[in-house]
């Protein structure tokens, strides 16, 4: 492989990685946009999603030693897998909001945020108890097809990751920009009290936001499992922290910002690893974050400075 081919390969790797971060970052950004809460339990919802995916696949008779699927079997399995997992993680998000966060909605300060950290630990330990501490293999149902781009190659997994991710993001963007529900969400984000006075059921909007964010995290967790072929109770932290960084980098509260931030972090990770070394990955990512924050405190696309009355 020539240097150019390696760089092309790292860009492909970085884009796939960035797509996963972006899906996860969307959940952070949406919840923050609506109720200005940094929801750290999102890390763990993502992690739990990988195990939900494992169970769903097992119910469908797909295990770690199964052969990869093709054709109709593959498409139908994927559709069921994504629907079931995203619904489950979405409901998990709703449950977290209803039980742990709603009563704290009007509590000022960091109490709700700390609560989300607590929820994160509950989920981590629950998965640890159920599945044990070792890495679990995730079934490789996507076939190992590859296409050559020079000496670099694009795998079928990366294509699926990218296409499905893009479709989900376009659907989300359509929902927020073009539907009544989206309008209600945007209104709540701007001013919850005014939205309520206009007859918007704010609680319902918040619940739906949690559902959508967590469902996207569920999709992200399936990408993780299918792409890396394993899961473990501890995977939420590193991936989640980078996704959170993506959201902040892109401008927290901004949906296109989260996507841009995710892809930016994914590319930084793969190109930084190539040019400097993977042991510097976090140093590079967080140094860039600091630089961006110094010059653009609201992130790359976050034009609106949050105003509190």
């Amino acid at each position: 492989m020539s240097t150019l081919d390696v760089l092309v390969q790292q860009v492909v790797n970085g884009l796939a990685l960035g797509m996963m971060y972006a899906l996860l970052a969307l959940g952070f950004t949406m919840v923050y946009g609506i109720i200005e809460l940094i929801n750290f339990s999102h890390f763990s919802v993502f992690m739990t999603g990988t195990f939900v995916g494992l169970v769903v696949l097992e119910l469908m008779g797909v295990t770690a030693v199964s052969k990869s699927l093709t054709g109709f079997a593959l498409v139908s399995t994927l559709v069921v897998l994504f629907l079931a997992t995203m619904t489950t993680t979405g409901l998990l998000g709703v449950l977290i909001e209803r039980i742990c966060l709603r009563s704290l909605r009007h509590v000022a300060g960091t109490a709700p945020m700390i609560t989300t950290i607590g929820v994160a630990f509950i989920l981590i330990n629950a998965m640890l108890l159920i599945w044990g501490p070792q890495a679990q293999r995730f079934p490789q149902l996507l076939p190992n097809w590859r296409w050559a781009v020079g000496a670099a190659e694009i795998t079928f997994k990366q294509v699926v990751l990218f296409v499905v991710g893009l479709v989900l993001m376009l659907a989300l963007s359509h929902l927020v920009q073009r539907t009544t529900l989206g309008k209600a969400m945007r209104a709540t984000a701007q001013d919850a009290d005014a939205a309520r006075m206009m007859g918007i059921d704010v609680d319902r909007v918040v619940v739906l936001t949690f559902f959508l964010g967590s469902a996207l995290a569920g999709a992200g967790s399936l990408f993780f499992g299918l792409y890396y072929g394993f899961t473990g109770y501890y995977i939420g932290y590193t991936t989640g922290l980078r996704a959170f960084t993506s959201a902040v980098l892109g401008g927290i509260g901004s949906i296109p910002g989260a996507v841009l931030g995710g892809i930016f972090i994914g590319l930084t990770q793969s190109l930084g690893g190539q040019l400097l070394g993977v042991k510097w990955t976090d140093v590079i990512i967080f140094s860039l974050l600091i630089v961006v924050m110094v010059f653009r405190p609201n992130g790359l696309l976050g034009a609106r400075i949050p105003q509190r009355a």
């Binding site: 390696v6 981590i124 501490p133 070792q134 394993f230 590193t238 993977v278």
Partner: protein, 402 residues
């Protein structure tokens, strides 16, 4: 409670605490010698630790079955040294466990730790207490290096004994093997950032360099990271003959499948850190196949001399043994032998006397003769090479020493 009573209660409590902690291990207390076992029984290295624990337990059961040693029964005190936060061994937890051993006046010696990262944390604690531990598996040479005495045994005397040899031989001998037997001319070196992983990767890299093998690069994996495709793509671009990984299972569980996908044709080698019977289950059989690994001991599991032992272990412990289950069994025999010699010499069983007796060990054990140098390292320095084939670990040969 009035003031006088408070003073009296406090004084009484202080007295009780003093009595409980003193004198350490008078023989009158029921004729029991407790052996501390601190092992990462959960987390990514749980399978290896389980085998080591069961090796020690088998020895203890056998000795007690024969009525104990010199009138003493042996008793295991077992703690987990892995934490959920680390997902693998945690040096801080190991230190806490050893402090608990030391606080129990009946604990006279310990078997462990499994990992060198734990060893670095506990060795100074043991030195302060003058208590010996015998590790059946941790191989980082720093811990017993006399040059680093001030750091790891401030009181001077050896407290960290091993029934395996060190990475001063394990890493370099794997380099010898890859160079001579596999004709490797270039290599990329990775480690997992742990005390063991960094140390063995360094010693491997140094020896490989001396042999004239081209070192194409060196990088460090974060064991908690999911994505190793970045570094593997970089390695693919450099086109090395071999990839060496110094480290334990948490990173290896992910490195195997991803390297199988990105660099399937590169020769891959690790150390005893990846001699773990649960690896195919964690990473997939086909991904693990072809990996070389090593043991800082002679091959024991398939040795004809140990056939009866292996059969007994399988039957009683309901699992397959590993070489380090056998070195762990031997570690208990060393302690039992030291107890016997101490009693014969009419000395009381104390931590100090037991340490001195362990230092003077000359024992013909099931792995062969065991004797230690002044730093606690075993005098036998055999390193064995293995390869994963069809989901099973197969013994290849003794690693060349040059």
């Amino acid at each position: 409670m009035n003031r006088r009573m408070l003073v009296a209660t406090t004084a009484l409590l202080a007295l009780v605490v003093m009595l409980a902690g003193f004198p350490p291990g008078s023989a009158a207390q029921g004729k029991v010698v407790k052996i501390g076992l601190s092992l990462p029984l959960t987390g990514s290295d749980a399978d290896g630790a389980d085998a080591i624990l069961k090796g020690a337990q088998m020895a203890i059961t056998e000795i007690n079955g024969k009525g104990g040693v010199a009138g003493y029964k042996l008793e295991a005190m077992v703690f987990d040294s892995a934490t959920p936060a680390a997902g693998q061994y945690d040096p801080a937890q190991a230190a806490t466990n050893y402090k608990k051993f030391i606080a129990d006046s009946l604990v006279m010696a310990a078997v462990g730790p499994v990992m060198s990262g734990e060893g670095k944390a506990i060795s100074p604690i043991l030195s302060e207490a003058d208590m010996a531990t015998i590790t059946p598996s941790s191989t980082n040479p720093d811990i017993t290096d006399p040059k680093l005495q001030a750091q790891y045994r401030p009181k001077g005397k050896a407290v960290y004994f091993r029934t395996v040899t060190t990475d001063a031989f394990q890493g370099p001998n794997m380099a010898n093997y890859l160079f001579h037997a596999q004709k490797v001319k270039s290599v990329y070196v990775l480690d997992d950032g742990g005390a063991f992983g960094v140390g063995i990767a360094d010693s491997f890299q140094k020896r490989a360099g001396e042999l004239g093998v081209k070192i194409l690069g060196r990088d460090r994996l974060d064991p908690k990271e999911a994505d190793y495709k970045t570094i593997l793509t970089k390695i693919k671009g450099l086109n090395p003959d071999a990839l060496y990984y110094g480290g334990v299972m948490q990173a290896a569980a992910k490195l195997a499948p991803q390297s199988y996908e990105v660099v399937p044709r590169v020769i891959k080698a690790g150390s005893d850190g990846v001699y773990d019977l649960s690896w195919p289950k964690q990473s997939g059989k086909e991904a693990v196949d072809g990996w070389f690994c090593s043991q800082a001991s002679p091959e024991l599991v398939t040795s004809p001399k140990l056939e009866a032992w292996v059969t007994k272990f399988k039957k009683e412990m309901k699992r397959d043994p590993t070489n380090y289950a056998i070195t762990s069994y031997d570690a208990v025999l060393v302690i039992a032998d030291a107890v016997e010699r101490t009693v014969k010499a009419n000395k009381p069983i104390t931590r100090t006397n037991l340490r001195d007796a362990i230092q003077a060990t000359k024992l013909g054990s099931i792995q062969g003769p065991i004797a230690f140098d002044a730093n606690g390292d075993i005098l036998t320095r055999t390193v064995s090479i293995y390869q994963w084939r069809d989901g099973e670990i197969k013994y290849v040969s003794v690693a060349p020493e040059k």
